[in-house]
């Protein structure tokens, strides 16, 4: 026998499923629910950055690009960080943007697998290596000079096929309960010292770590890089899956210091102001390599003008200032004259003179890491 209460429960369940599916279909018109989500992110960002009056300026510009687009962006940068920037771009230019988020490397490989039919117009990644791989396969088009001229040569491709949008610096993060900043080394090479036995966290499978090793192979030579890796491995470093995990492990005291990028820390501090970790910069040292998050326009794109507009927008005052000041992910603006008040200036960091376009031999770095046993 079917009891009335069970039929009612079934009705309720059915209604719940129908309404969820309705929510899903509703947002197939791109704005509905996705925009709601983005709004919360934008509101939060606006509160932080104090850019509430942008909307008024946007309306004037909104007519300019109405005949351009829509464009599709493959973004290896995270929706939580950059999602609202695309919405603001559409509001400012009238160019519609569709974004596919994913892993930086996986999206770059996807573009190579797709070939000339790729739906992507713009690739936005957080590693110069991925952009360099697309460039070397001839999949990116040369950016106009007005874009390239804005950017410090340190932050863009030598051949002009991609440009950085923000800089990120390799640092040592350290546990502030266990170490004073004065205890920390001034060079990444000092981590070979036995006093760091069992106290180092690293992520050798991570793209930015491998970019750093590639840079070290170029600037210091293959043998020095191998020796450094072997010395660090002799100190039994703790292997983490990614930079986020390093920062967390450092906070828990699993390790005293970690080799990572500078910007992960700020997110933890946003959720927990007492988070016991700080950044230690390595001025003038190869361990303080500056890498980029950057953007390229696909050679196969039929919307290159609209795509260039997006690149210009990413380099605009608003967006550069936002990245320099946003509380949960402060990165280095790539244009001169934009402030990042909480970060040391580029002069203070004195980044090593490495051309990011030269970081091509990724397979060589991978094999070196395998040979010294860093990946196991």
């Amino acid at each position: 026998m079917r009891s009335p209460s069970r039929s009612r429960a079934r009705l309720v369940a059915l209604a719940a499923v129908v309404s969820l599916l309705a929510a899903a279909c509703g947002s197939d018109a791109p704005d509905d629910d996705a925009a709601d989500d983005a709004d919360t992110a934008t509101d939060a960002a606006d509160d932080d950055a104090g850019t509430d009056d942008d909307a008024a300026d946007d309306d004037a510009a909104a007519d300019a690009g109405h005949d351009l687009g829509p464009i599709t962006v493959y973004s290896g940068r995270n929706e939580e960080l950059v999602g609202f920037i695309f919405d603001d771009f559409t509001a400012a230019t009238g160019i519609d943007v569709e974004v596919r988020y994913g892993d930086t490397a996986e999206l770059a490989i996807t573009i190579t697998e797709e070939g000339p039919a790729s739906p992507a117009d713009v690739y936005f990644g957080q590693d110069a290596g991925a952009l360099g791989a697309l460039e070397s396969q001839g999949l990116l088009t040369t950016l106009p000079d007005d874009i390239l001229d804005q950017v410090d040569p340190l932050f863009r491709s030598r051949d002009g096929n991609w440009t950085g949008t923000t800089g990120r610096v390799r640092v040592l993060t350290y546990n502030t309960d266990n170490l004073e900043e004065a205890d920390l080394p001034d060079s990444i090479f000092d981590l070979a010292d036995p006093q760091w036995q069992g106290r180092i966290g690293w992520a050798p499978t991570n793209g930015s770590f491998q970019a750093f090793v590639t840079a070290m192979r170029i600037s210091e030579g293959e043998d020095v890089a191998r020796q450094w890796l072997e010395d660090v491995i002799a100190n039994d470093p703790v292997l983490f899956e990614n930079n986020t995990a390093i920062v967390e492990g450092t906070a828990r005291g699993e390790v005293d210091l970690g080799i990572t990028n500078h910007y992960y820390l700020y997110r933890f501090l946003a959720e927990d102001p007492d988070f016991p970790v700080a950044n230690h910069f390595l001025p003038g040292d190869i361990g303080g390599l500056v890498n980029i998050a950057g953007v390229g326009v696909l050679a196969s794109s039929e919307q290159q003008e609209a795509a260039f507009e997006l690149v210009r927008y990413l380099l605009s005052d608003e967006v550069q200032t936002f990245f320099g000041q946003e509380t949960s992910a402060i990165e280095f603006p790539v244009r001169d004259g934009i402030d990042a008040p909480q970060l040391p200036s580029l002069d203070e960091i004195d980044p090593p003179d490495i051309d990011l376009s030269n970081l091509e031999d990724l397979q060589g770095t991978l094999e070196l890491l395998q040979e010294v046993g860093a990946l196991s």
Partner: protein, 583 residues
């Protein structure tokens, strides 16, 4: 068709009048002629009330009775399942011979293969030890809060391993929540034992769910007969119940083993390097698909080896095919003094596999809310997940039915081969299948590329064996005599299929659909690359937030995943209750 009821795996009968035709069949299989030639005469038979006297007279029904409506779609589906393997061959062909030899013989390759097999076999062993007793307890005993446990012990399956491993680290690592709250230092979650524990916890439900389904399909009269003959409950369980569960246990165990082959999330976070992790590192570090593709092919080779071994190990030794289907639900076994210890054992599993992750997730939410973070309720993402995973389960079951029916009702080598071919997509890392479908999809099915249809197809390629295994084991529980009876009573093959076989497959289809739904819900790599642009789901939300350490934002979609995941488990439960009500 030589199909003695005890020999579903095609073991040659000792001596039968069919030996000549059997020889002929082997010869055909050896020359590679398609099974079509065997079915063609049947296809031309006039349908009608006249029983197939020739077939009946020789007791041969199974394969001859396979209608083209079954084997034709099965063959097409199997071909589609081979897309990833074909892609890997194309990609690996870019390497020259010397490089191939280098990679295949590299010490690193051997090491990774050894570790993968070690982890896979130990997780599978533990999953069987955990899954079979828990299935029995939650289906056939008077365990306290039995219905709650039946769902709760299966739910760890819905937790993506990248979240599950992450929460285990958050709880068990040095300075984690357990040390923080209780002041005790728990065992380290890293290395082999960490990966072993996490993968066992989050994948043993494959065994649990298929065996639960198997138990619900048992004919209780066999056990009653054993008891009436004077055997005790333990002996009855071991000698009567367990043999009948062999097919469903083997199906679940194979799913666990091959899942371990393909997992990336847990092994990478818990620092135990396996083949799949090596493959991911190769892909992501060097942007070069060829060496990664070669590693993928080696993984396919390992999968084939495992499947061949499984086919030998799980070969029927009697004990199946005795049932006419459950005529009525089996009575619950009273546990007596063991009731509460059994409940405690179930609680431990629930505590580790469900309560720990949920606690960590809720902790993230509370901590973030306290710090003034905003929480998005993610209704849209939940709906999109429900839609995509629901369609994946539906299409997956529809595609699995012909393959499962053919392979469980025919001893044709082709049937078995096609069923096994479907495992390649499942055992490969999701990212490989995703790239394969990108490469093939954009060239062959351009209008469908990056549409919902493409995503659903990807789910089917990835998860079809889950549905096949469940349906096949539910059919193997019932003797083909049932269908033979239907034919002898004058029903056509199609009518028999519709009125007899499909209803018998329904229980397995539900369990299989539930498995596909649960795994599609949490699927990440293919969803990121093949869903319509902007189609964010719960899994992509969780990934997106956790990968950048926005844990508060990950909490709501993670809880949604667990809630939606309990839907199919609840459906299985309700059906069981309805059957009891009916009796």
């Amino acid at each position: 068709m030589p199909m003695p009821t005890d020999e579903p795996q095609g073991v040659a009968p000792a001596a039968s009048p069919d030996d000549t035709s059997r020889t002929a069949e082997v010869a055909v299989a050896a020359t590679g002629s398609p099974a079509v030639t065997w079915e063609a005469p049947d296809a031309s038979e006039p349908p009608g009330p006249r029983p197939d006297a020739r077939a009946m007279g020789r007791g041969r029904l199974a394969r001859r009775d396979t209608h083209p409506v079954i084997w034709l779609p099965a063959a097409v589906i199997a071909a589609a399942m081979l897309i990833p393997a074909v892609y890997l061959v194309i990609a690996a062909a870019e390497l020259d011979g010397g490089r191939i030899l280098d990679i295949v013989t590299a010490a690193e390759t051997r090491r990774l293969a050894g570790r993968t097999l070690l982890l896979g076999s130990s997780v599978t062993f533990a999953s069987v030890l955990l899954g079979v007793p828990l299935a029995w307890l939650t289906v056939r005993s008077d365990l306290p809060a039995r219905r709650f446990f039946a769902i709760a012990v299966a739910l760890p399956l819905v937790i993506p391993t990248y979240v599950g491993a992450f929460t285990l680290i958050g709880a068990f690592a040095r300075g984690g929540l357990i040390e923080d709250w209780f002041g005790i230092v728990p065992p380290s979650p890293y290395g082999f034992w960490g990966a072993f524990t996490a993968l066992t916890l989050f994948s043993f439900p494959y065994v649990l769910i298929t065996v639960q389904s198997g138990l619900r399909g048992l004919d209780p009269s066999l056990e009653e007969a054993s008891r009436l003959l004077g055997h005790g409950p333990v002996r009855t369980f071991l000698k009567v119940t367990v043999p009948q569960l062999r097919a469903s246990t083997a199906a679940g165990a194979l799913l666990v083993l091959l899942y371990v082959f393909s997992d990336f999330g847990a092994v990478s976070m818990l620092r135990y390097s396996t083949f799949t992790r090596g493959l991911y590192i190769q892909y992501r570090s060097a942007f070069d698909r060829a060496p990664a593709a070669l590693l993928g092919l080696l993984l396919v080779a390992m999968t084939i080896a495992v499947i061949v071994a499984e086919a030998r190990l799980a070969r029927d030794r009697g004990g199946q095919f005795r049932s006419r289907g459950p005529t009525r639900p089996a009575p619950r076994v009273a546990l007596g003094a063991w009731r509460w210890p059994a409940a405690a054992a179930c609680s431990v599993v629930v505590a580790l596999g469900l309560v720990t992750p949920v606690t960590v997730v809720v902790y993230w939410m509370v901590r973030g809310l306290a710090a003034g973070e905003q929480v998005n309720l993610a209704f849209g993402a939940a709906g999109r997940s429900l839609l995509a995973a629901g369609l994946g389960a539906l299409v997956g079951v529809l595609a699995a039915l012909p393959v499962a029916i053919w392979s469980s009702r025919s001893s044709s080598r082709w049937a078995r081969l096609i069923e096994r071919a479907s495992f390649t997509g499942y055992a490969l890392p999701g990212i490989v299948v995703a790239f394969a479908l990108v490469f093939v999809g954009i060239r062959v099915a351009t209008p469908l590329y990056q549409t919902l249809a493409m995503l659903v197809f990807a789910y089917v390629v990835l998860f079809l064996p889950q549905a096949i295994g469940a349906i096949r084991s539910s059919l193997l529980q019932v003797t083909p005599d049932v269908e033979a009876a239907s034919r002898s009573l004058g029903r056509s093959r199609l009518a028999t299929l519709q009125r007899v076989t499909l209803p018998l497959a329904r229980r397995g289809a539900l369990a299989g659909g539930a498995l596909v739904f649960l795994t599609a819900l949490k699927e990440l790599p293919a969803t990121l690359l093949l869903a319509p642009t902007g189609y964010d789901t719960l899994a992509t939300r969780v990934w997106s937030a956790t990968s950048e350490a926005f844990y508060t934002r990950a909490s709501v979609p993670a809880l949604w995943l667990i809630m939606l995941g309990s839907i199919p488990l609840a459906v299985l439960m309700v059906r069981e209750r309805r059957e009891i009500d009916r009796s």
